[in-house]
């Protein structure tokens, strides 16, 4: 990642210890302006610790964190101007209305007084909380609380948005809305770092992924970069009519690329190690062998599949 020229967030040999426990092992990572960077890994992998160091809430034991070129240890307040942070807890000021809550933060971020009311209106509309604008936050549902938290994080137009498990607890529609909102913010030039242990949440809209485990950044790359590591390993869903499962088995085994398979009388889920050409030959071979193929589908590799392939499956 050292070839990236304009990192808005830079971790330089950052390490974090809590007593004897090493929460983040020495880690170097650049995140470039305009990216959506997905930080994935199981609970306890060190994602939250890394994000809290990035926004200046935790001091690294060693190493440096730079936000927009500013060393956050040296000039925390200057660096924090560029940061919007949403933690993994739904903490709000319970006795304030949604509007008052955002007004508090607008003033705390030193936004110009004239800009505050229209900006609050704008972010409330963006997160879809118009009808709850004057409601006390303690009466909001979990999803609404999370949306209000997000409104707070983007209120002062930060260049870097750090979101720790933002989609947990959201219903499917709210997740889709969150994804659309993040893509819109990215289009406006905001860099987003988003963590999750539910990999499906991040798939499809992150520019790059970092896989963390046991405080280590196991790998950091684009989806295609991660895919290339797994080579030609593919999962095929195969379904046939009036079939002889043994004939199907023999044909696939002859291809030489079978890794694992789950067999049923009329369908199979096979993991094979074949190029696209060899896959086409396998399909033709099945037809030639008289198998009446009704479905021959390469199951799309999800980020979760990639994660399972890449991570070392260590458990904290």
């Amino acid at each position: 990642m050292s070839n990236l020229v304009n990192p808005i967030l830079k971790f330089e040999a950052v390490r974090k210890d809590f007593g004897q426990f090493v929460a983040v092992q020495p880690l170097t990572l650049d995140i470039q302006a305009g990216e959506i960077y997905g930080l994935i890994g199981p609970n306890g992998a060190g994602k939250t610790t890394l994000i809290r160091m990035a926004c200046g809430l935790l001091a690294p034991t060693s190493g440096r964190v730079y936000v927009n070129g500013i060393d956050i240890q040296q000039r925390a307040e200057a660096a924090q101007e560029s940061i919007g942070y949403l933690s993994d807890v739904y903490a709000l000021y319970e006795e304030l209305t949604a509007w008052e809550y955002l007004d508090y933060f607008a003033r705390a971020y030193r936004m110009p007084a004239d800009d505050i009311p229209p900006r609050i209106k704008e972010v409330i509309r963006l997160v879809g909380l118009e009808v709850k604008e004057q409601a006390l936050t303690k009466g909001l549902s979990r999803g609404m609380r999370q949306r209000l938290g997000l409104a707070r994080a983007i209120l002062h137009r930060p260049k870097l948005l750090l979101l720790d498990e933002p989609a947990s607890g959201l219903d499917p529609k709210a997740r889709r809305d969150l994804r659309d909102l993040l893509l819109m913010l990215q289009a406006q030039g905001t860099t987003i770092v988003i963590s999750s242990h539910i990999l499906a949440e991040l798939e499809g809209f992150c520019s790059r992924f970092g896989i963390m485990e046991l405080g280590r950044l196991v790998r950091s790359d684009t989806v295609s970069g991660l895919t290339s590591v797994t080579g030609n390993r593919r999962t095929i869903l195969l379904r046939w009519l009036d079939g002889d499962v043994e004939r199907v088995k023999r044909t696939i085994e002859r291809s030489g690329g079978l890794v694992t398979a789950e067999w049923s009388p009329d369908h199979a889920l096979c993991t094979v190690n074949l190029t696209e050409d060899q896959l086409a030959d396998l399909h033709a071979g099945l037809v030639r062998a008289g198998v009446r193929v009704v479905e021959f589908v390469e199951k799309k590799r999800t980020v979760e599949d990639l994660y399972m392939n890449l991570s070392r499956h260590e458990v904290m």
Binding site: G56, L57, A59, Q80, S87, A91, L92, Y93, A108
Partner: protein
């Protein structure tokens, strides 16, 4: 530094604590209690009781609410908000100190006109001003001390426990002073509280303000003006508490 009424932290507490219904309730209950006391004891006694209530209850309210406030932010995980915004420690401290006990402050302000009536019964305006100045500086000391407790306590139970110890110490302080009968030659440390000044006000309601300002306490063997001593003691403690707070409030966890 921005004015307190524009301080976001203070505004947050004002909005949360002084919505119309509780505000009207506090004012109504305060006046109702004063009316009841006046009915039983007469106006003159009521006036002195109101001043005494302000002298005792306001510091206790400020101390008890402030001693929970930062712990409350930590327990409800809103503490990080402070550390990711551009609010300065000074603004946060001022907002907390004058915002957290706002309901108590409102109760005092709403009954302050009753205390002012004492001037009509011979209390000098200067004496009354000095008394309330002492209440104010003592509240600042107690409030800052409470904030320090709530910042360093590790649990609600701990901060509540320490606050209770503070409260009981204050009550014992007051009783000790009452037994000593007068602050003129009393234990000098007591001048940190406004109670000696209240006692003097009560014992000599007709005295001019200068007699109160010039009353002395023995500091060792040396007589020192009580008022000056009280201000110095309060400023010393407040300054110390303030430094502890301002250096740690936005400090990152190690």
């Amino acid at each position: 530094m921005i004015a307190i009424w524009n301080n976001p932290e203070w505004m947050r507490h004002r909005r949360a604590l002084l919505r119309p219904a509780p505000t009207m309730t506090i004012v109504a209950v305060s006046w109702l209690l004063c009316a009841l006391v006046a009915y039983v004891d007469g106006i003159k006694h009521t006036i002195m009781n109101v001043i005494l209530a302000h002298t005792i209850i306001l510091p206790l309210l400020v101390g008890s609410t402030c001693s929970q406030s930062i712990m409350h932010e930590r327990v409800f995980q809103t503490f990080d908000f402070w550390r990711t915004t551009r609010l300065t420690p000074r603004e946060l401290i001022a907002g907390q100190l004058f915002g957290v006990p706002l309901r108590g402050i409102l109760a005092v302000i709403s009954t302050l006109p009753i205390a002012l009536l004492s001037i009509g019964f011979g209390t000098s305006p200067l004496s009354l001003t000095l008394e309330y100045l002492m209440v104010l500086v003592f509240c600042v000391t107690v409030g800052l001390g409470g904030l320090v407790i709530s910042m360093f306590a590790t649990s609600f139970r701990e901060s509540r426990g320490i606050a209770w110890v503070w409260g009981i110490a204050l009550v014992l302080f007051s009783i000790g002073f009452a037994l000593a009968d007068t602050g003129r030659n009393g234990f000098w440390v007591m001048t940190i509280t406004p109670y000696p000044f209240f006692k003097m006000l009560e014992l000599a309601p007709g005295a001019d303000g200068f007699s109160l300002s010039q009353s002395t306490s023995l500091f060792g063997v040396m007589p020192v003006p009580s008022f000056l001593l009280g201000i110095v003691l309060n400023l010393s403690f407040s300054g110390w508490f303030y430094l502890m707070l301002s250096r740690n409030l936005k400090k990152r966890a190690g």
